[in-house]
């Protein structure tokens, strides 16, 4: 039995403990407090709400693993959404065909990747701090979006887009499927590919990585480009879900994505962290807000509780560290 647990721990990694414990606590607490919490409806609503935040969190994850941060994610998603919206509108708005959607999505992902590429180039070649570079990119993209849309929103998209936001396939929501596919891609990227390995290396020690013959600049540029492309996917899902695009949609997700990464055991200085614990952490955050909703609280209280949860997890980690320290002596 203990051997099994040991193997499980080895397979899942030490980051798993926090999110899983939080998950169990949240399910038990709300299962007792809110009578209709443990129902298909709760999990259904979580399944529909998870992807927007989740995709943006994936976009945040890669830069954090390199020891950076990408604060431009939400507005990159908006700009990508706008790109798709324009393509659809120029091809007939409500009557736009599937071809226009595919072209628009490609362009949207291209635009997202381009913004990431720009940031990556500045970060890799000038060694400016990623927080600062992505922050100014964020201010720029927000301004660009507001300038182009005059603060208004674009809507009126073809009907076949609705399933991407609301449809189900074999009982599973389509946006969730897309999100799980992206989680899978990120997982494979980080565990099975050279780029993923180099990402962790850079997060641990960029100079040592450079001296071991890895082109760190190329890796950084790729990481931010991928992050931008993932933002675009989030932007497309957001477009389908809201049936409109407005600059500022999802703005409040920005710092929540950072929180979700840290809750998922990602090291704030980079180098350590895995996709699956972050995925669990995201489910915990959504369950929390759904549970509070059922109990009659609003999203703002849920936001505060997310912050409290984060602090609690960090304090528990500190306590656990001290207990280990005492045991070792």
């Amino acid at each position: 039995m203990t051997a099994l647990i040991e193997r499980l721990r080895a397979a899942l990694g030490p980051e798993m403990a926090g999110p899983v414990a939080a998950f169990v606590v949240v399910v038990i607490v709300f299962g007792i407090l809110a009578p209709n919490f443990l129902s298909a409806a709760t999990f259904g609503s979580v399944a529909f709400q998870l992807p927007e935040l989740g995709l943006l969190t994936l976009a945040m994850l890669l830069p954090i693993l390199t020891g950076g941060l990408n604060l431009a994610i939400t507005f990159t998603a908006n700009i990508a959404g706008l790109t798709l919206a324009w393509v659809l509108q120029s091809r007939g708005g409500v009557d736009a065909g599937v071809g226009a959607f595919i072209l628009g999505s490609m362009l949207a992902i291209g635009v997202g990747a381009l913004s990431g590429l720009l940031m990556g180039l500045v970060i890799a070649y000038t060694k400016a701090h990623p927080i600062l570079v992505s922050l100014s990119m964020m201010i720029f993209l927000r301004g660009l979006g507001e300038f182009l849309t005059r603060g208004g929103d674009l809507s009126g998209f073809p009907a076949f887009l609705a399933p991407i936001g609301y449809g189900t396939l074999l009982g599973i929501p389509v946006p969730l499927l897309i999100f799980i596919a992206c989680v899978g891609i990120w997982h494979v990227l980080l565990t099975r590919m050279k780029l993923g390995f180099n990402t962790y290396m850079i997060g641990s020690n960029i100079e040592a990585t450079r001296y071991s013959g890895i082109n760190t600049r190329k890796v950084l540029v790729l990481v931010y480009t991928l992050s931008g492309a993932m933002c675009a996917v989030a932007g497309i899902i957001m477009l389908a879900r809201f049936n409109s695009v407005r600059v500022g949609h999802g703005e409040s997700y920005l710092l929540i994505t950072v929180l979700a990464c840290f809750l998922g055991g990602v090291n704030p200085f980079g180098g350590f962290g895995r996709v699956i614990p972050v995925f669990i952490a995201l489910i915990v955050l959504q369950l929390l807000s759904s549970g509070l909703n059922l109990m009659g609280a609003n999203q703002h209280l849920a936001t505060a509780v997310w912050g409290i949860l984060m602090i609690t997890v960090m304090i528990l980690r500190w306590v656990a560290g001290r207990i280990k320290f005492l045991n070792a002596k």
């Binding site: 964020m138 301004g143 507001e146 849920a302 602090i311 960090m314 500190w318």
Partner: protein, 333 residues
Amino acid sequence: MRSFARSHATELALLGVMAVICVVLSFASDRFFTLGNAFDLLNTSSVNIIFAVGLLVVLIAGGIDISFAVAASVVQYLAVTFLGWIGGGNWVIGLIVAGATGVALGCINAFLIHQFKIISIVATISTFNIFFGLLMFFTGGVSIYNLPDWMTTRVVLFEREMADGTWAEITLPVVIMALCVFATWALITRTTTGRQLYSFGDNPEGARRFGINIGAMQYIAFGWLGLMAGIAGLVQAHYAQEVVPNALYGRELDVLAAVVLGGARLGGGKGSVLGCILGVLLVSITQNGLNLMGVSPFAFKMIVGAIILAAITLSNTSIERILPFLKSRRASQ
């Protein structure tokens, strides 16, 4: 002079950029280069400068704070409610209440960071969510419009009519801003604590072995930012004549960008009050100038973002790297 140029490279570069922008703008708009406009600029940027000098202290001490702007919103609400409860008050009581509340909120951050060894960005993103979530939950997003009379009356300390009939005014926010700037300057350059903050930010472990009280440093840095955030919150309420719970939401990132633009280093140990003010002013001068030139307000942020991005790229790329021949010539001298 030469050593000044070397130690204040960022500030000089910023001054240079500002000078160029000012010259261009004063040709583009005849209303830009007037005393009245200069005072307008100071009036509008005083809140951000107060925030900026507070954040500077935390950055120097090697931390980062995301929560100060929403903390200022919390302070606004608490202070105005309290002042209404005691039946009025005045500027002195208001500033003391706001400052004390701000310090208390800042100390929550310092406590979490020091006691539980939570990294400052993690702790302050959490408190950012807690402060903002609770504020919106308890207020229901409702703004306060009936502020005490002393808070809504404009206090003009100096005014002078210009030749063209416009008025140049110095108002209370500018004076409070000047006091905050002076106090911060004195703290970080003229006291032992200030030197300790720099050394702590540069190398925390080294500072600890040197006998510097690490806990005190965290409480001083975050407490100072809390104080400044509280004061800025009150000044902003005075300036806007209302308390809106999400008015300052998102301001933290704008201020952070301006401070780091002014030469403060994320990671600690570097930064000056002068650079910090120049960073804020560069952003507001650009906005002001674009406004006077009649550029669409929707384009402001885009241009400001592009300027910051360009400034970062340039300030991090040393001139020698772009023009390698300069380096060899300097080496041969």
